[in-house]
Symmetry: C2
Subunit: 342 residues, 2 copies
DNA sequence: CTGAAAGCGCTTACAG
DNA sequence: CTGAAAGCGCTTACAG
């Protein structure tokens, strides 16, 4: 194990040629005869040569690493949404020969504006910030000379490059689906003052109503959580709607349980849709029709933008919206088939 | 952004001293006067100097990276157990100034024995293999000159260093808890021919029975899945036991649903315990008493062993067992308090 | 206490 | 086509 690993020099010596030639041959550069190149390559594999990327990094002044920052609070016991995101980001890096390094940002570091260790140690050429961080932290990141892309959130006040899900459009499409299935009395479930994502989803729902000439009924906008984000018991309206458009699957799941306890059948008596396509959508009976964030695509785009910024570091990209996917399951009663697919 | 980042040389020039002195001062080495050292340090922070770890890597011949390999099949849509594990491993690396790089091992690469990219590019000083890989893949990893530690699995036939949960002992303790709560007729739920971990859990259950002088009743060993691992409908025994010890929370969750449908109350009429402490344990009503893998501790130990191997590369550690944690919730009827805590 | 020299493994001009 | 020289940013002996 302590045996020194083999280098280009070793190969050069065996063949009585220069290191330069070995380097050229191994990286398929001009200036070596085909014959010699083949000889070098085969000797290299035979000797078990592995390219030393650290030396290349040294030369290029590039680490070929990307730092991925996830605030700790987004990694609950069950809630590992962002870890899955991290996985897709890592895989997107493959294409570029880059590697991803994960750093969990503690609340203390965020509060005291401590920059990630991989930044301080010049380990990364750029950073992905995965999940909302404070305004002040965004600013200190921006003040850095390192390219940064924000993933799954953005800040209205800062001029940042961010890749986010198009919640608005997804909710619009989801609501369209419910209406086209023959339901016209739709309630929205979610505290629209709680988060901007709930707000966007509500507005998407509203847009669909408008397009279908359905009036917005304020009694049909039901709060699901208090101002601290704690779930509250949902107060059902006097007149039952035909369908509930919930701002997330967990709320849809709980609502279905509640409706069933009250004797309603889902979807026979009333339809319910969710958002996120998380585990609540599948453990529910019936399984919930919902919308799924396209992590893979978002990861891919975020990395593409980031690598571009690293190489040219000029353009501004701003907010990049990624479409979510409609997942049709069994929680919506299809009264008409008309125009369900557009 | 294209502006060159500042180096020790820049600091040295400003102060009209040598790079060597700057290096010594910045890394708190002997051989610089306190006065000069302070001057250097303050100028460094003032100039926004960041240490270049790549250069250090070059010098040391160490990348200060650890590769973490997770087979793709362990990363299901919901099942992100191993991604959470990865997170704990990453955090454990902090202590040593190391970084973790994640690689998802595709079935093809595993089949064709393709080594991880970070190994081929000499990017890592050691590797953690997170989740069972094929015998052949284990062998090719071992043939490598790089230290490897296996996490959450081991192979009986290979002589590897592995950190695993003590399933046997955990099941034993869990069963002890159920018995000490006053239940004596206990069924085990799990196909004991399916996986070695189910087997170990069954044996832990059996050990507890033996110690409490309870005979093993083969009618009380219930299969939960077929030979392909697909869940089957659990066949309840003629005479209902007082408690079911399930090999995992998901099975416990489904069993509780089934029992409730049959009119049994849990835990009033019959107790049920699970294993894993995953989401099924908490979405169930009642919440399930279970046992939790101590990922944090396992990650810490795996990294400690790996770093030791990197630095000395001598000792063999073999199988390292980590205790799981008993999580008491509401799915067990406590008929007696006697000796519940030991 | 201070620093000139050599080296880590590779690549990029530039000569021959 | 082939290779000597210089350099990436730092550290480690070794002199002074």
């Amino acid at each position: 194990m302590i045996r020194k690993s083999i280098t280009m020099k070793d190969i050069a010596e065996k063949l009585n040629i220069s290191i330069v030639t070995v380097s050229k041959a191994l990286s398929d550069k001009e200036g070596v005869s085909e014959e010699l190149k083949e000889k070098i390559k085969s000797l290299a594999t035979q000797m078990g040569y592995r390219f030393n990327t650290v030396a290349k990094s040294m030369k290029d002044g590039l680490s070929y690493n990307i730092g991925i920052v996830v605030p700790e609070r987004f990694i609950g016991r069950q809630q590992s949404f962002y870890l899955k995101f991290h996985r897709h980001v890592s895989q997107a890096l493959e294409t570029y020969g880059y590697y991803g390094i994960l750093q969990i940002l503690t609340p203390e570091d965020e509060e005291q504006l401590v920059l990630p260790r991989f930044y301080c140690e010049k380990r990364v050429d750029g950073m992905i910030i995965l999940g909302q961080v404070s305004k002040a932290y965004i600013e200190i990141l921006q003040s850095t000379d390192t390219p940064v892309v924000f993933l799954d959130f953005y800040d209205e006040h800062s001029n940042v490059d961010a890749v986010i899900t198009d919640s608005f459009y997804a909710a619009y499409e989801l609501t369209n689906y419910v209406i086209r299935s023959g339901n016209r009395k739709l309630a929205f479930v979610g505290n629209i003052y709680a988060t901007s994502s709930i707000q966007d989803r509500f507005l998407g729902y509203y847009k669909s109503l408008i397009e279908h000439r359905i009036d917005l009924d304020h009694d049909y906008v039901l709060s699901d959580r208090d101002e601290h984000g704690k779930f509250i018991d949902i107060e059902l309206p006097e007149i039952m709607p035909e369908a509930f458009v919930c701002n997330c699957d967990e709320v849809a799941y709980n609502l279905i349980l509640k409706l069933q306890k009250l004797g309603y059948r889902v979807p026979e008596d009333v339809s319910v849709v969710g958002f996120d396509n998380d585990i609540y959508a599948t453990i529910s009976t019936p399984q919930i029709t919902t919308v799924e964030v396209d992590m893979e695509e978002m990861g891919r785009i975020a990395i593409k933008v980031l690598i571009n910024k690293i190489n040219r570091s000029t353009k501004e990209y701003g907010r990049l919206l990624v479409k979510a996917k409609l997942i049709v399951r069994e929680s919506v009663k299809v009264k008409r088939q008309e125009k369900v697919n557009n």
